[in-house]
Symmetry: C2
Subunit: 215 residues, 2 copies
DNA sequence: CAGGTAATATGATGTAAATCATAAAAATGA
DNA sequence: TCATTTTTATGATTTACATCATATTACCTG
C-alpha cells in the first residue's frame, strides 16, 4: 500500500510532483494492537492519518485512570493534537486494533497548509466535522455505564460487524469505566440475550435492542 | 462596534470589497445572559463568532440533564456545530454572560472558505486548536465534582478576574453537576478559606489553592 | 408591601458504580 | 509441563454524588 494516504481527501487534489515528494517525506507503518503511536506530553512533530484499523486517543485523568477521548477509524486523521504547531501531544494514541498509519512530519503539513488552498479547505472541513463528532460523544461521558458500553459496542460494530475481537479491558477503556463494570454490563446484556461472548470475543445478537438501551 | 468581527483572525486579511459585503450580509446582535443563540437539533444555517462575553455549548444528556460541552470566550468562533454544511446544530448555544455575537450565514461562510485560501487556513488552524482544547476539557468529565467546580472557577477567572457574577445553578451546569453539589463544593472551598460568596457572586480568595485542588 | 419566585443552605436517603476480594479458566511461556 | 499472567466472573463493601426534603434569605413584581 505505497503512499496509500495520497488517495485520502486532503491529499487527493495535490499536484503530482508534490505527491511524489510526500512519498519520500512521509512514512507508513504498521502498529500492532495495543501499541502506542505517540505519547501524551511528548513533543508533537507529526500529523497522522489512519489507513486501516482503529486508534484510540487516550488521556490520563487527574485521578490517573486512562480515559478514551475519541476513537478514530480508518481513513481519518489523528490531527487536532498536533496539526497546527503545538509542541506536545494532548493525548496518547493507542492502536485499538492492528493499524496502518501514515506519518506526515509537522513541517510538511504546515507547508501543505500554507501552499494549497484545497488542502487547507479540506483540513478545515475535516476538523470541523471532528468537532461535531466530539460534541456528540462528549455528552455520553455523563451517561450510565450500560449505555456507554452499548454505545461502544455499536460503534465498533459499524466497522467490524457483529463479531468483535476485544477484551473487556479494552471495551472498558473505550467506555471510560472499569473492567468489572464492563463485565457486569455485558453479563446483563447476555442475560437479556442481546450478546454472546467468550474470551476476547463479543458477538452482537440483537444490535437493535442494544441501540434501544443506548437511548 | 460596526463589523467588529472583521478584525478577527479569519476575516482580517480578506479584501476590502469582501469586507464591505460582509458588513451587509452578516448581523451583529447582543444576547442577554441565559438567552439562547441557537438550539440543539434546529437547522444550522449560520456560523457565529463571539465578539464579547462567554457562550456555553450545551447538550441534553440521554438522561435529560443539560451538559456543558464547552465554554467559548470572546473572539472565538462557535463554528464546529455548523461550519461545514451539517443540517442541524449538535448542541445549543446559551449566553453565559451578556454576549455580543456576529452571525455569518452558512452560504457566506462556504463562499469565504472556497474563495480565500487565507480564510480556509485560518479556520483550519482555529478548529484544530479547538479540537486540542476539547481534548483537554474532555478528560475532566471523568473527574470529581470538586475538581470540576475548581476548574470552572479558575477558567472563568481567566476572563473575569477574581470576582465572578454567576449563580450556583450556572456554575453547576458548566461543571456538569447539580446545584446542590455545586453549593456543597463551594461550602467546602469556603470552609478552607479559598473563596467567599454571596447571592450571585463568588470571590476567589486563594486561586492558587484552588488550582492545587484541581490537580 | 405582600406574595411569588429564585438562590443559598444543609440534612437525610438512595443508588450507580468504583473498589476490594477471591476464584477459576484460558492463554502464555520458560 | 508447570508457573505465571490475563481474562472472565461474581460477591461484598465503600463512596461519591444524585435525589428528595425542608428552610431561610434575597429579590422582583404586581
Amino acid at each position: 500500500m505505497e503512499g496509500g494516504f495520497l488517495h485520502l481527501d486532503p491529499f487527493r487534489s495535490l499536484p503530482k510532483e508534490e505527491k511524489n515528494r510526500l512519498c519520500q517525506d512521509c512514512s507508513i507503518s504498521a502498529f500492532p494492537k495495543e501499541s502506542r503511536i505517540f505519547e501524551e506530553g511528548k513533543k508533537a512533530d507529526a500529523v497522522w492519518f489512519i489507513l486501516s484499523g482503529w486508534v484510540r486517543l487516550v488521556k490520563r485523568s487527574p485521578e490517573g485512570r486512562p480515559v478514551t477521548l475519541f476513537v478514530v477509524t480508518t481513513r481519518e486523521p489523528l490531527f487536532g493534537v498536533s496539526a497546527v504547531g503545538f509542541d506536545t501531544y494532548a493525548a496518547s494514541a493507542i492502536a485499538a486494533t492492528g493499524a496502518e498509519v501514515a506519518k506526515i512530519p509537522q513541517r510538511i503539513f504546515q507547508h501543505l497548509l500554507n501552499t494549497y488552498p484545497s488542502f487547507a479547505k479540506s483540513i478545515a472541513v475535516l476538523s470541523c466535522k471532528r468537532i461535531r463528532e466530539m460534541e456528540l460523544t462528549y455528552a455520553m461521558a455523563y451517561d450510565t455505564v450500560d449505555r456507554r458500553i452499548a454505545h461502544v459496542l455499536l460503534q465498533l460494530s459499524n466497522d467490524f460487524g457483529d463479531t468483535l475481537f476485544f477484551t473487556h479491558r479494552e471495551i472498558s477503556e473505550m467506555a471510560g469505566t472499569t473492567v468489572e463494570s464492563s463485565i457486569r454490563a455485558l453479563s446483563r446484556f447476555k442475560r437479556k440475550g442481546w450478546v454472546r461472548s467468550s474470551r476476547g470475543k463479543i458477538v452482537l445478537l440483537q444490535p437493535k435492542e442494544l441501540a434501544k438501551e443506548e437511548r
